[in-house]
Amino acid sequence: MARASVTRLTGRPLLSRRQDGLALRRAMPDRLLPALVAAMTFLAALALAGAVGASLLAQRWNNGAAAIMTIQVPDADAPAATGAGKRGDAVLAVLSHDPAFAAAIPVDRARLAALLAPWLGGAGGSGTGAPALSLPGVIQARLRPGVDPPADLAARLESAAPGTLAERNQPWTARLVALTRSLQACAALALLVVTGVAVAVVAAATRAGLAARRHSIEIVHGLGAGDGYIAGRFARRTTVLALSGGIIGTILSVPLLLLLCRLGAPFASGAALPPTLPDGDLAAYLSDALARVPLPLWIALPLLPPVSASIGWLTAQFTVRAWLRRLP
């Protein structure tokens, strides 16, 4: 309480305490900088949402169509070359023992026949007669997420039942995955550009502050303030301004992101959703929308303000230290 009593003793207000002489409060563009950083953060949030959305879709496609392999076993009912049982069973055993596959299920004969009936003639509409050709046994195998089929699969299938064909439903999904990759690359590029612009904006604001306070800085420098002290004052100020801009931009981005997440929901989860605002029940609409925001986005969004603050701090430090080199 020493300070308080001393202050009372001299009867002076506490308000003038701890002035650093640089008066940066007035020297920095304290409305323009947060506004620009807010705009940048808003764009970054959109780019992030795009990247997260694209990667979720890519994941889903990878786990879906791209993960299915179709295996055809000619003469599936014939006895296998080695061991007991049929050829079809031998192939099934290979697939179910392979750790790359999560499941391997034979396609029902009758269903296959029904599917192929229009092409193979057979009984057409009337129905139940044996097909003209002997149908191969068909097995659908599901790869574990993110796993490619083993390189020696074809050889192992061949030795279990010669003539077996394994096919991955890949070309179509490969194209989709390539598309999502390029979407992600675009998002990353957008983030990079936004970061670059943010750095340029903060640097310009800092230089404006330096120019406005040139005289004071020279005096404080002359009194023995180190580069770190002066740069620290500027960095503190830009950090506050950039942080507030970051928070504003992030908050502004949330409504748009909720809307996007709702629109994207059917692609991401396959679940149906009410297409319009359910009878004016805003709370239900919002909680539904919130539940659809993917987890990575929940993690990335709160990081945006601290990241913009860090960009502000780093850029100011760098700009001021470079500028101070002109002083002896």
């Binding site: 020493a2 300070r3 001393v6 202050t7 001299t10 002076r12 207000p13 003038s16 305490r17 701890r18 002035q19 650093d20 002489g21 008066a23 004071s216 020279e218 005096i219 404080v220 420098h221 002359g222 009194l223 023995g224 303030a225 180190g226 580069d227 002290y229 002896p328």
Partner: protein, 223 residues
Amino acid sequence: MIRLDEIALRYPGRDPNRGAVLQRISADIPSGGFRWVLGASGAGKSSLLRLLSLSLKPTSGQLEVLGVSVNRARRAALARLRRRTGTVFQDLRLLGELSVFDNVALRLRLDGLPEDRIELEVTEMLRFVGLGRKLDVRPHSLSGGEQQRVAVARAVVHRPPLLLADEPTGALDEKQAIRLISLFEELNQMGSTVLVATHNEALVRRFGHPALVLERGRLVSHG
């Protein structure tokens, strides 16, 4: 110890034909010495003090201040050296944004002193120079002499090992000037090295002490 060895100074952009502002200056000033810096207007007194306060770098020659070789020192070492120096600039260089109190307190805040000590020391210092009632005033609403005393208070409040004062009494009356130089002498007796540039011959005669005399950028006598 201050050592000047063949120091020359040119201001950048100054007509090169007009020659250097300071030329071939060599001198040693021992620690704890008191020196006047004398010479006609334009002789280079302020320029010499600017070199010693590290506001400028010499164009050539070796400079050593408080045992630190200025030519070779790193930026952080130069900043530390500036904090150990108290300077009254001829143009005062007070911070217009700050109160009188904060102008003086900044000096101590840069050294990281605790606020309650700053409060005591600054208040006492400003009382001594007769500004005890003007702590919360901005410098621009002070008279010239009052501003000069704020600058002096800021220069001596931390009892620096080196005090450089450029015309510190220019705007003061005789009585105040004597009081101020007495303060400098007190500091000098406590071990500080003191250099005072002045035109006030009465003051020089009154207090004695050796002088560095400059004439058109050359040192014509020292000691």
